[in-house]
Amino acid sequence: MLELKTQGLKGVKVLNLSGRFVAHTAPQVREWLLNAAQKAPARVIVDLGGVNFLDSQAIGTLVQGMKRCREQGGDLYVCGLQQPVRVIFELMRLDMAFKIFENVEEALDAFQHTESAVDA
């Protein structure tokens, strides 16, 4: 129902999701996120490119993960929102909570820039 693929790219953990991100599939994501957010600086990208449906449990999971990442001096960026997901993000004003990008590359770029800002 929900497929998780993960990779590490330039010090960022990328989680690619496909399928339905809902109440009964969210716990796997929650587990992965809490684990990924354990060590500072916790930089995570959640690629929703393959997600055609998500619910408020899924949103809660992302918010929780994002807060953990920020606690660990990092952040959680989301990208690849399809229309069914985008309209929900808009209705919920989730752009106030998350940095949202078109795709993984743009999200990665943004992390690289944050990094250099810190390094400088």
Binding site: M1, V22, S56, V63, V87, L91, R93, L94, A97
Partner: protein
């Protein structure tokens, strides 16, 4: 009221997918509907309403627990009516932590106590829960909660903008 589709599922999260599929197929019969944001909102809020029942009304996990979803469109008015029924326990919306009591209006509906969901304050984007009822209030024109003896009903209504569709005549509406 016009033609009715009625679906009963076990009150388990995985079956909300069957509700989604059913409602989607129902709505896709309406020309142009699948291209609207409303289409996605409706799939979302009905899923939320089911999830709420499974999580809150059946939190004690009744054996044989079910959720029944009835869906109809009044072809005269273009009003979509969705009714959810569960056999879980009732709650008093005015005593709940969220949304605030001012979100509800207590009234009678066919000689029965009903709670009408008015507008719900926008949840903080950083909250991890408490979005379901806000969504429902945003998407539907009317939301009524009717606690009954051993039953709860949620009645949700929305005018669909079927102008484009109805221009080409009523027969097209459901072709």
């Amino acid at each position: 009221m016009s033609e009715l589709v009625e679906l009963t599922i076990p009150a388990k999260h995985r079956y909300t997918e069957v509700v989604r599929a059913c409602l989607q197929a129902f709505l896709e019969q309406i020309p142009g509907m699948a291209e609207t944001d409303t289409f996605h909102f409706l799939l979302f809020v009905v899923h939320e309403a089911c999830t709420n029942v499974i999580q809150h009304a059946y939190d004690k996990g009744l054996k044989g627990a079910t959720v029944t979803v009835k869906t109809a469109v009044d072809e005269q008015t273009g009003q979509l009516v969705i009714e959810l029924r569960d056999g879980g326990h009732s709650f008093d919306p005015l005593l709940a932590d969220w949304p605030p009591p001012s979100s509800w209006q207590k009234e009678t509906h066919n000689h029965q106590i009903a709670y009408r969901l008015l507008s719900v304050p926008e949840p903080d984007p950083l909250w991890e829960t408490s979005r379901g009822l806000y969504f429902m209030a945003q998407v539907f024109d009317e939301v009524l909660y009717l606690p009954e003896e051993g039953n709860n009903r949620w009645i949700m209504m929305k005018e669909l903008d079927l102008v484009a569709a109805s221009e080409s005549g009523k027969t097209i509406l459901w072709s």
